[in-house]
Amino acid sequence: MSDTARDDEAIRRCLAGDREAFGELVERYKRPLYAVAYRLLGDSGLAEDAVQETFLRAYRALGRFRRGDPLAPWLYRIATNLCHDLGRSRGRQAPGLDEGQMDRLADPADQPDEALARRETQRRVREAVASLPEKYRVLVVMAHQQGMSYEAICQATGEPLTIVKNRLYRARHMLKEQLTAYYEEGPPETAHSGPTGRTPAEASATLEGGVSADL
């Protein structure tokens, strides 16, 4: 059963009064929603609030969700808009670079030097992403963290394909510009086959309009 069909079945039951079906959706999407919110806000407490509010709003609005559409982009749309407002109420500052427990831990197989280099690369990249304007940052997180397709990103942002492609192109260009010096100083060992063992193409193709299962 595809993700969309599975979600649609849960939504049908939910609309019929089966509250446990909503629990299934919560369990399925709380982690990817948290991952997106955390990277947009840089604060685990705020991200937690954003996820809870996203589910509350989704439940109250489930009756108007267009059945048959993928659910994930709809949830991301609610969550990213809440993150936008939460970020604004916190003050117009770039998300923090919390190196807390939710950041990917170094692979135990890494040698100490490699682990250190990898953490430094992660820090630099996150710093570069955090410095992007919000409208670019959201797209980068959707595309490169969640591996969402262009179509799913369009649905989640409400922007047309040309705008999404153009913004992603510009965002990647800005990131390359910012990171060029770092790569030239000491190119990380991660090129082409990352420490996650997942190539960019695999990451992108993880799900068609859905959510990465590998979070």
Binding site: C14, L15, G17, F22, G23, V26, E27, K30, R31, Y34, A35, Y38, R39, S44, A47, Q52, L56, R57, Y59, R60, A61, L62, G63, R64, R77, I78, N81, L82, H84, D85, R88, Q101, M102, D103, R104, L105, T121, Q122, V125, V129, H144, Q145, Y150, Y169, R172, Y183, P188, T190, A191, H192, S193, G194, T196, R198, P200, A201, E202, S204, A205, L215
Partner: protein, 199 residues
């Protein structure tokens, strides 16, 4: 098959790195890459960046306590038995921005309708329209010279202008006024209307 140039290949490199190109297009890009060191280096930069992005943005480890077991129960305590049809984005800045846009568009249409009505009057009622234009110009000039006196004059002259229009009342005028009123009503109503997700 025509060989691609660097400027044609450049915008396709990101999609190639992500495996998103159509087979035929990918083949064309690869033919170019075989001959162009500069583009190959750019592709390598894209691959390195994407790998690092995937790694750096990933979030793993345990979820915060508030999102752990029991989240659904806590959420459902705050929710009605059945899902509703509320606007999921109500109250967010996006919804407010959209409502202002809609009001702006309808306001613009109202202004256009007013201008259209005025032009219609100019064409259909040349004498009264010329007189009204003259009165408007006089009003504006006086308002600029003396605000308080100008405002009183403006009120008087606008009333005179209405009188001219009313004396020449016809179907076009009525239709224009009705359209203007409906447009204003819609603009006001849209401010309080909820934004639909699928709108």
């Amino acid at each position: 098959m025509f060989p691609l140039t660097c400027s044609e290949v450049l915008p396709r490199l990101n999609d190639l790195a992500l495996g998103l190109l159509e087979p035929r297009e990918e083949e064309q890009v690869r033919v170019h890459l075989n001959q162009c060191l500069s583009c190959r280096k750019r592709l390598e930069a894209s691959l390195a960046l994407f790998t690092d992005l995937t790694d750096a943005l990933a979030v793993s480890g345990p979820l915060p306590e508030g999102l752990g077991d029991g989240l659904t129960d806590r959420l459902l305590l705050q929710l009605p038995d059945l899902p509703g049809r509320e606007d999921p984005l109500a109250g967010t800045s996006l919804a407010r921005k959209r409502a202002w846009w809609q009001a702006g568009v309808l306001g613009g249409l109202s202004l256009a309708a007013g201008a259209g009505l005025w032009l219609t009057l100019l064409l259909l009622l040349p004498e009264s329209a010329e007189e009204a234009l003259r009165l408007s110009a006089v009003t504006l000039g006086r308002m600029l010279l003396n605000t308080s006196a100008g405002l009183a004059d403006a009120a008087l002259l606008i009333l005179q202008g209405f009188g001219l229009v009313l004396r020449n009342l016809n179907l076009w005028t009525l239709a224009g006024v009705a359209f203007g009123l409906v447009a204003v009503e819609l603009a006001v109503a849209s401010r309080s209307r909820h934004t639909r997700w699928d709108s």
